[in-house]
């Protein structure tokens, strides 16, 4: 008798599980392409903010290199590098790296470096910094992040790559030093990484072979 009850209840649950999974699978199937397209477009938008689309003519999405350097790129995971080229010649590389020491953990950044080692720009992709204090790193909160445009390893020099409180060149926010400090440090390290592996970054070419 008991077995019978268990069996009926379980079959009942099974029917619902099948119908529920069916509906979910159907929705997933019909939205999958659109969601992927959304994600692609969102990423392309932020890439184009850093490297305007008239500066490159390659398919920046398929020209990706995965690199790993926990010390300079802030994460153990492989970091995607989007490479912009024009007429086969390298123009800039965009690194999707991590500033590991934000006030509330990891800050995900896009750092675009021109071939000559100057910064094309930096954007924050994702963070959990305090709203109203640390979120000044977002472009729609303040212009702070634009202060990196055009900077390089020699401008300012090594000692300038700090927030002002630490004797450097970059502003901190009122009430928040840790957040900008983490970003400045991560961008500086990204430039160091770019300098040491520039050859490697552009040589691993899936498209045209170039020698820079």
């Amino acid at each position: 008798m008991l077995y019978r009850t268990v069996f009926i209840s379980a079959s009942f649950l099974l029917v619902f599980a099948v119908v529920g999974s069916g509906l979910v699978a159907f929705t997933f199937d019909s939205t999958e392409e659109r969601i992927a397209e959304n994600q692609r477009r969102a990423l392309l938008n932020s890439l184009n903010e850093l490297v305007p689309s008239d500066r490159y003519d390659n398919d920046i999405f398929s020209d990706i290199l995965l690199v790993r350097n926990p010390e300079l790129l802030g994460t153990n995971e492989p970091v995607p590098v989007y490479r912009a080229r024009k007429g086969g010649w390298p123009v800039a590389a965009v690194l999707a790296l991590v500033a590991p020491d934000g006030y509330n953990g990891r800050i995900r950044l896009l750092v675009a470096v021109n071939l000559d080692g100057t910064l094309a720009g930096v954007r924050v992709v994702q963070h959990r910094e305090t709203p109203g204090l640390g979120d000044g790193i977002e472009l729609n909160r303040s212009d702070w992040i634009l202060g990196f445009d055009g900077k390089s390893l020699s401008n300012p020099g090594k000692n300038g790559w700090r927030v002002k409180r630490d004797g450097g060149q970059f502003d901190q926010f009122t009430g928040a030093t840790i957040t900008p400090r983490a970003v400045v440090k991560a961008v500086h390290k990204a430039l160091l990484y770019f300098k040491q592996s520039k050859q490697h970054l552009f040589e691993q070419a899936p498209e045209t072979s170039t020698d820079s």
Partner: protein, 229 residues
């Protein structure tokens, strides 16, 4: 017994999910930093409530009582997943903002609460009205709290409206004071708690006023006395 009007009044005021039952306050407090966030989560919750109430009510005679809770959970989880996928397909920007709170609707106690307390015992039509009014009541609380926190915290209203209404709505943002410094407390979680507390207090004050005005007039039998105090 309950007329549809009573069901509506229950959901919107006397038994409001946010102000009286105080259910599902985790997403309520977390996302109500702005008007638009409140509206987005409110709509998602509203749709979930209506869909789950209707589904549960439709199958109420089939479901064996011993497995009804697992079945309800399954129904709600499927509906929320479908809403999450649809949102990320058609409102991607808003989805990025509300992100993790959409799956949290699964655990919003008000939804399984309504399924168990109402939809499993009432007809489809009445369950629909119940889900709609409960959801609308919750949405109104979210929107009110979002509006208050946005005005006090950032000095704006309808900021980031384009997440929901497209690029044309970008200019909808109203700035009340030029170069407003912002009031951090209202933006942070404590501000959400204080704001919700104030809203609940306000509702109680209004209820009290009405009651004292009604003194002397014989009060009709009220099924919702648990809500008043």
């Amino acid at each position: 017994m309950n007329s549809l009007q009573n069901i509506m009044r229950d959901g919107l005021w006397t038994n409001n999910v946010g102000l009286v039952q105080v259910l599902g306050i985790c997403p309520l407090l977390a996302v109500t930093g702005t008007f638009i966030n409140g509206l987005g989560l409110g709509l998602a919750t509203l749709i979930t409530l209506v869909a789950s109430n209707v589904t549960v009510s439709t199958i109420r005679k089939l479901v064996r009582p011993e497995v009804r809770i697992p079945v309800f959970v399954l129904v709600i989880a499927s509906i929320v997943t479908i809403i999450e996928l649809s949102m990320s397909a058609w409102f991607y920007e808003l989805y990025k903002v509300l992100g993790i709170f959409i799956p949290l609707i699964v655990t919003n106690c008000s939804i399984i609460g309504r399924a168990e307390a109402f939809a499993s015992k009432n007809t489809v039509g009445r369950s629909f009205v119940d889900g709609f009014s409960m959801g609308l009541g919750f949405l109104l609380v979210l929107v009110t709290l979002g509006t208050l926190r946005e005005i006090i915290g950032q000095g704006t209203l309808f900021s980031q409206a384009h997440l929901m209404f497209g690029e044309a709505a970008r200019s909808m943002t109203i700035h009340f004071v030029d170069s407003y410094q912002g009031f951090l407390l209202a933006v942070l979680p404590p501000g959400a708690f204080i704001g919700l507390g104030l809203l609940i207090a306000m509702k109680n004050v209004i209820d009290k006023r009405r009651e004292s005005r009604a003194v002397g007039i014989p009060v009709p039998a009220n099924q919702t006395t648990q809500a008043a105090h």
